[in-house]
């Protein structure tokens, strides 16, 4: 098998393998090569950030990993098995809150749990309570979705995604719509949760600092056609503070590379 990246070829088993994936979107007005022959391996327990300018196909790649979109060519393997559709081993947390307004906060966290026949009623309730507590919203258990702030909604969405105990968490710009203060708080939370649970996380963002703060590796993508441009390892210790100077150093390096992909795309 081809290994196109230089670093971290270790003994840790691969959780997600993306092999030569291409995807083209054609409408009557235009055709876009969203992904062109993309290969990527995510190892177990790794936190990988996909970053790139809009139109680089990072969200499409995440959708394909989730099984929500099928690639034109190539394939995705999760735990060595071919991904043929969505499954609760790979839960997605979306940018806008995809919480269900007809359920209260608790009902939303319970939604995925109810689809697990292996749990009893009490177990489900206990798990939902546990994750609401983990994101600090146990007091809002019976609140309606519209009563929550943007940050609280995304916390509920995080609890909902974690509760059914997926192996992989796919996050599609989950904090993009939040204010900076709320985001900083969530970076701490997500790092804490990740260190405790050691889930494999793929995190899509267009915010360089966010990526450096969270990721073990940062996959830089370039648009039209969507390709992987460069992969950065971030060996900083955790928990990381988004405002630390070391983090800023990494960020500026990646930001320069990111800028390169944008200017190239425009000059083409």
């Amino acid at each position: 098998m081809e290994v196109s990246r230089p670093a971290s070829v270790t003994a840790v088993p691969a959780k997600l393998i993306v092999e030569n994936v291409s995807k083209r979107f054609a409408s009557s007005r235009a055709a876009v090569q969203a992904l062109d022959n993309v290969s990527l391996t995510v190892t177990e327990g790794e936190f990988v950030c996909l970053i790139g300018p809009s139109g680089c196909g990072k969200s499409t790649l995440l959708d394909i990993m989730a099984g929500l979109t099928m690639p034109d060519t190539g394939r995705v393997l999760a735990d060595g098995k071919l991904v043929q559709g969505p499954g609760r081993q790979r839960l997605v947390m979306f940018q806008e809150s995809a919480l269900f307004p007809w359920l209260d906060v608790f009902g939303n966290v319970m939604f995925g749990l109810k689809l697990r026949p292996d749990l009893t009623r009490t177990e489900r309730r206990d798990i939902a309570d546990h994750f609401l507590k983990l994101v600090g919203l146990e007091k809002f258990k019976h609140s309606h979705v519209h009563e929550l702030s943007g940050g609280m909604k995304q916390r509920v969405a995080l609890a909902r995604a974690l509760a059914p105990d997926p192996q992989v968490l796919l996050m599609d710009e989950p904090f993009a719509a939040l204010d900076a203060l709320t985001r900083d708080q969530l970076y701490d939370d997500i790092q804490r949760i990740w260190m405790e649970s050691r889930k494999t996380i793929v995190f899509v963002t267009h915010n360089v600092r966010e990526a450096v703060c969270l990721g073990d590796r940062i996959v830089l993508m370039s648009p039209s056609p969507g390709r992987i441009r460069q992969i950065f390892d971030i060996p900083l210790p955790r928990p990381r503070d988004i405002n630390s100077p070391e983090l800023a150093g990494h960020a500026s390096k990646i930001a320069t590379a990111l800028k390169g992909t944008v200017t190239e795309a425009f000059s083409e």
Binding site: L68, R90, V92, F94, A98, F100, P101
Partner: protein, 257 residues
């Protein structure tokens, strides 16, 4: 309480104006009876049982026809919202028939079913089902796709997805569709009862019709008021709880602060 008082005042003034218009003597009392006579008619009809009996006959037809219309219309609406083939065929049919005033079904119903309950039900169902199909279709189409995507990643597919995600997500549209369906059912039944005399039951529409035949304007206006009151009551009892639930959960219609 304050809202109730202002509503009461409004209607009192309305009835007062009506009584003034009668007293002015500009219109014949045969054409415009005093509200007192109308009230007397309603009271009399209540006491001798005709009003309750015909209200029951009418409501029974309405509820059966409406329930059938909703039960048929909802699955068909879901079908047209998901399948291109059904959208092009059944969807266009529903759109066409929805524009047909339900009175137009009466001649057909009479020929097919004769002067029977079947004709009544047929007209009510035809009045309801098309608008329910269109409302359901519209509702299912307007669900943010992200709900279905989120549900699918959590393992919700097929029947579970339809009943636990698509239907509740389209509830705001469904409820307004049901309400519209109800209004159509009510209208078509009244039209049917006014035009079709049948022997199996004397509904409110019939009372209205015979009121005209007998030139009894107090009866005509009295029955009209009863029909309006029933419409309001049904709205309060059947739909308001749903709408309150929606407003509470979706956070819409927040005007008090």
């Amino acid at each position: 309480m304050r809202r109730f008082a202002s509503a009461l005042l409004f209607f009192a003034v309305l009835v007062g104006l009506w009584e003034l218009a009668v007293r002015s003597g500009r219109w014949s009392v045969v054409l415009l009876p005093s509200p007192i006579f109308v009230a007397e008619f309603i009271w009399g009809a209540l006491l001798d049982g005709t009003l309750l009996e015909s209200t029951w006959v009418t409501l029974k037809r309405l509820l059966i026809g409406y329930a059938a219309g909703v039960l048929i219309g909802m699955p068909l609406g879901l079908l047209t919202s998901t399948s291109q083939v059904f959208e092009d065929t059944l969807g266009s049919l529903a759109l066409g028939f929805q524009t047909l005033p339900s009175v137009c079904w009466i001649p057909l119903a009479l020929v097919w079913f004769g002067q029977t309950e079947g004709a009544m039900l047929f007209v009510v169902i035809m009045g309801t089902v098309w608008s329910v199909i269109i409302a359901t279709d519209h509702g299912a189409r307007n669900i943010p796709p992200i709900y279905a995507r989120a549900a699918r990643t959590m393992g919700s597919e097929g029947f579970h997805k339809w009943t636990r995600v698509i239907l509740p997500a389209s509830l705001p549209f469904l409820v307004s569709g049901m309400k519209q369906g109800w209004a159509f059912a009510w209208r078509s039944l009244m039209a049917a009862e006014i035009y079709v005399t049948i022997l199996t039951g004397f509904g409110l529409g019939h009372l209205l019709h015979y009121g005209r035949e007998l030139n009894a304007m107090d009866q005509v206006i009295g029955i009209m008021i009863v029909i309006v009151v029933i419409g309001l009551l049904v709205d309060r009892l059947l739909f308001s709880p749903w709408e309150r639930f929606l407003h509470r959960r979706w956070g819409t219609n927040v005007k008090e602060a």
